[in-house]
Symmetry: C3
Subunit: 265 residues, 3 copies
């Protein structure tokens, strides 16, 4: 199985699929091709939140503002999974999550590539062939590919200077308040913060101040009326600032990267 994620919109991913299908019979599964454009941190977040649900697979992830420069191409192995991606951090959070869940190490390999046909579309000319090659030999035999060179093997939660990493900030939790940051805003307009869902334990039904904006803590969107603000534990396990049948980003005035302070009213 081979999954594809990118910020390429349409129809560029089709060229990648053609390149893959000339080299492999693998099942192809689209993760998303509308990841926030050239936003490595957001892409890393969404990959972490989707790729670990898949069975063992090679994951092709191309969000690549440095395309055509001398940044490296990576193959990152985490147990039975491999992520093929530019060396800009986009692969690491997903690989770490998969590694933690399977008790595996995070192993990073550099993938050597010759001068490709284009210097603007390495998804087609570098990463798709690399992903097909990794799928061809199998995730367990990445070492056998002439094109790869091991960089470093890390424990599941480990760090390294050898490749570019991407870390999400951690929220600060007090008894009555939390200081966090907005990680992403999703398609619905839901504001996903880095405040752990546990902060809402025992608070369902209470009113919370989010940077001064009041909202009710609920379990389900429909626990408030349409167009009403709510705070809840979202599907990522973090506190979200949302609106039932509306957009939380507009109602709370929050965007990715914003600081956010939640406190009992």
């Amino acid at each position: 199985m081979l999954t594809l994620a990118s910020d390429f919109g349409s129809p560029y991913p089709a060229a990648m699929k053609g390149v893959l299908l000339r080299r492999t019979d693998a099942r192809l599964v689209d993760v998303a091709h509308d990841l926030p454009r050239q936003d490595v941190r957001a892409a890393a977040f969404w990959c972490r939140e989707t790729l670990p649900y898949f069975p063992p697979a090679v994951h092709l992830v191309v969000v690549d503002p440095g395309v055509g420069t001398n940044r490296d191409a990576l193959v990152v192995r985490a147990g039975d999974h491999a992520v093929v991606a530019p060396d800009n951090g986009v692969a690491l959070p997903a690989a770490r999550r998969i590694a933690v869940e399977s008790g595996a190490a995070v192993e990073c390999f550099r993938y050597e590539y010759a001068d490709p046909a284009s210097s603007t579309f390495h998804g087609r000319d570098v990463f798709a062939p690399a992903a097909a090659a990794v799928h061809g030999v199998g995730v367990g035999a990445i070492e056998s590919l002439d094109a790869t060179a091991s960089v470093e093997s890390l424990p599941p939660e480990g760090s390294t200077e050898a490749v570019v990493d991407c870390r999400f900030p951690e929220a600060k939790l007090g008894a009555d308040a939390a200081h966090g940051e907005v990680l992403v805003v999703d398609d619905f307009g839901n504001v996903v913060t880095n405040v752990p869902g546990s902060f809402l334990d025992g608070r369902v039904g209470e009113t919370l101040s989010v940077d001064g904006t009041l909202a009710t803590v609920v379990r389900a969107f429909a626990d408030v009326d349409a167009d009403e603000r709510l705070v809840t534990v979202g599907s990522h396990g973090f506190v979200e600032c949302d609106v039932n049948r509306g957009r939380g980003d507009d109602a709370f005035g929050l965007a990715p990267g914003d600081d956010v302070r939640m406190a009992e009213r």
Copy 2:
């Protein structure tokens, strides 16, 4: 075969696909993930207009404004097909259409689920596992799943109080006029009404008033110039108010749910 339809946008459907692919080797086919957001009636319409074209399959449909509340999860069997969806009516029109075409009954089963990981993403945590389970035992053996309990078996065109239904209004037809309603506006801006296409029999070439706006009755879009209004029988078998290479909703001032009166000029 397993089809997926939702209003989840991107990249949430990828998590559902991962969950499915951990449980089944079934072919996955995306129907749409940009169904009108939390609009059960529109989603029910689009499912009715697409799912019956498929060969026997399990159809996963998640448009679910009541996620996390105590609304039930349903498995609806219609002949060789099953629709897995929240109990909000979204599955019924498609199931009824399939049942009518195959002379089968519409059989509704409740699907019991334990407290899921999230109360905001039952597509991933409830409906995808349910669809995989139904696919695993086969549509003919839904009764064998411990998690299901039969609710009621209906004749193809039948109704029930046991589950939430969704019915589209019927237009009133006179000799020279029709009173109907706008069911949906599609991506092209085509205005799909509930007036049966037969209302246009013998009227091709005539001018029709649509709420006072005049338009020509044609067989094909290109029978009028670019940017000109037209009335035609659309691919759903209903009368549509469209514009050649333009948007009918803007040109006719019509939106879903609007009353519409068509009359000879």
Copy 3:
């Protein structure tokens, strides 16, 4: 293998997929369903830039402003590939590119169809069944289909009056300047011209005037700062007018079909 490309948005392609899957077990691969609406030239361009990357396949391409009129349906064979499309030129550039690469002829067949269920959705009612039929007999046996009639066989680069063709204009190149045209603007806002990439040979690092707007010639987007204009050889092999992490169409004031003059400053 069967690929699908259209301007149908969503969810109409699902009906096509259902029709196909009732008739064939072929692997289905989406190329794009958001091709520029009813824009045959743009669709022809994108098909030429994506379909040749695929292994041998039947390619279903439906961008069809003449749907329901008496325009023909075509099956175009190019080596091991076939393109099934309306006779409006959309299939020819891709077929020609594939033919050139494989040294094959471009062979055009008309596909006869009975009055279809709708006169507005031939993607579902004419072209999907045709593509399934072609896939069923195999690209090498198109002649065996009762529904097809050979029109003409062309050399790879050849022309014909027998079917509607689509040709892209050629740029005029001088020593210090190029006169070309904007072919398409992609999802990123990158302005793809018809000026061959070779025009930039030896100019990397120079400043170029594009209709009076100055920009640096670079190899990679990241060779200029964010939001800065650049001129580069894009992945199609043509000169593009782009902005690093921004939209070239806005920054250069260029749109598809515009004349463009590039000259040394």
